[in-house]
């Protein structure tokens, strides 16, 4: 995995992410916000995207599980044939905000939706995000091309 931080976790960055999303959405619009997520997925996480292009989803799965474990999120990982489901029961970012009474921006989950969508581009996979609300979602990697 390209980035694998250890040591203390500064969870308050989720507050800044939430504030940034809110600011960009209100000041520059939804399209601009999505474009920032797309460039983050393509450029920062180039390694994940390259692996997916080669047909290997495991770095993305490790990325999901490693950082959810690190931030004490709750999830289940299910594999069925060539389909992998990351079932989020408690998103640590949303939990952090809600525990502090911080209003979660309506576009907060765009980071997950758009990045998953971008990572699937040019790959044999479809990566979907079903946002269920309350810090729950289902992220699915499904092979759609051989």
């Amino acid at each position: 995995m390209r980035y694998k931080e250890t040591g203390e976790v500064h969870m308050d960055f989720h507050r800044t992410t939430n504030g940034t999303i809110s600011y960009l959405r209100k000041t520059h619009g939804d399209q601009f916000l999505d474009e920032v997520f797309r460039r983050t997925a393509r450029d920062v996480y180039r390694s994940i995207h390259e692996d997916l292009k080669r047909g290997d989803p495991e770095q993305l799965v490790e990325h999901w599980t490693y950082f959810f474990d690190r931030e004490k999120g709750e999830y289940a990982l299910e594999r069925e044939g060539e389909t992998i489901r990351f079932i989020v029961k408690k998103c640590p970012a949303i939990a952090y905000l809600q525990e502090r009474g911080i209003e979660v921006d309506p576009a907060f989950c765009r980071q997950t939706v758009v990045m998953n969508q971008t990572w699937s581009e040019g790959t044999p996979f479809e990566i979907t995000t079903e946002v269920l609300g309350g810090g729950r979602c289902v992220q699915t990697i499904r092979r759609v091309k051989p």
Partner: protein, 167 residues
């Protein structure tokens, strides 16, 4: 979810996307960050002065895995950042760093200082090395005197010293 560990790499992309629209959009974003940080810190710093600032950055050293120390001087505290975790991550990155990445720090610090009645001076030393020296003063004249000795002072809101390429 962008992990909190990776926020600064996302931040770096935000800066670059805003810079592509015009530097004034980056500056406006820094102002927003400053506004948000003021809610958290300005009153604490105004009431607690240098001690409150010392306490805050002592906590940050631990939480953000900084290689840094804080020392007290006559009427100021000095934060010596030997290895900034923020710029280090932005440099350890498959995406290119934003040229003026370091300036975001003073971008939020300066509004907090103003509201708290304190005076911050940030000597970035270099925008491409993850180290800097930051002092907080109670006295403006002393802060100004120290700034004159800085190698590369961060002044994100001063039009005359807006970050220039090549520095």
């Amino acid at each position: 979810m962008i992990p909190s560990d990776h926020f600064v790499r996302f931040y770096n992309e935000v800066f670059k996307a805003l810079e592509a629209k015009g530097h004034e959009h980056v500056v406006a974003y820094w102002r927003e960050l400053g506004r948000l940080q003021c809610i958290e810190l300005a009153e604490k710093f105004r009431k607690g002065g240098l001690q409150a600032a010392h306490d805050y950055w002592t906590r940050i050293i631990k939480e953000e895995n900084c290689e840094a120390e804080i020392v007290r001087g006559d009427g100021y505290i000095e934060f010596r950042m030997h290895r900034c975790p923020s710029l280090s991550k932005v440099l350890d990155n498959d995406a290119a760093p934003f040229e003026f990445y370091c300036d975001h720090c003073m971008g939020w610090v300066e509004p907090v200082m103003e509201k708290a009645g304190l005076y911050g001076v940030m000597d970035m030393k270099s925008r491409s090395e993850p180290r800097c020296v930051f002092r907080v003063y109670e006295d403006k004249a002393k802060a100004d005197a120290y700034e004159r000795t800085a190698t590369l002072s961060s002044r994100p809101y001063a039009p005359a010293s807006r970050p220039r390429r090549g520095k």
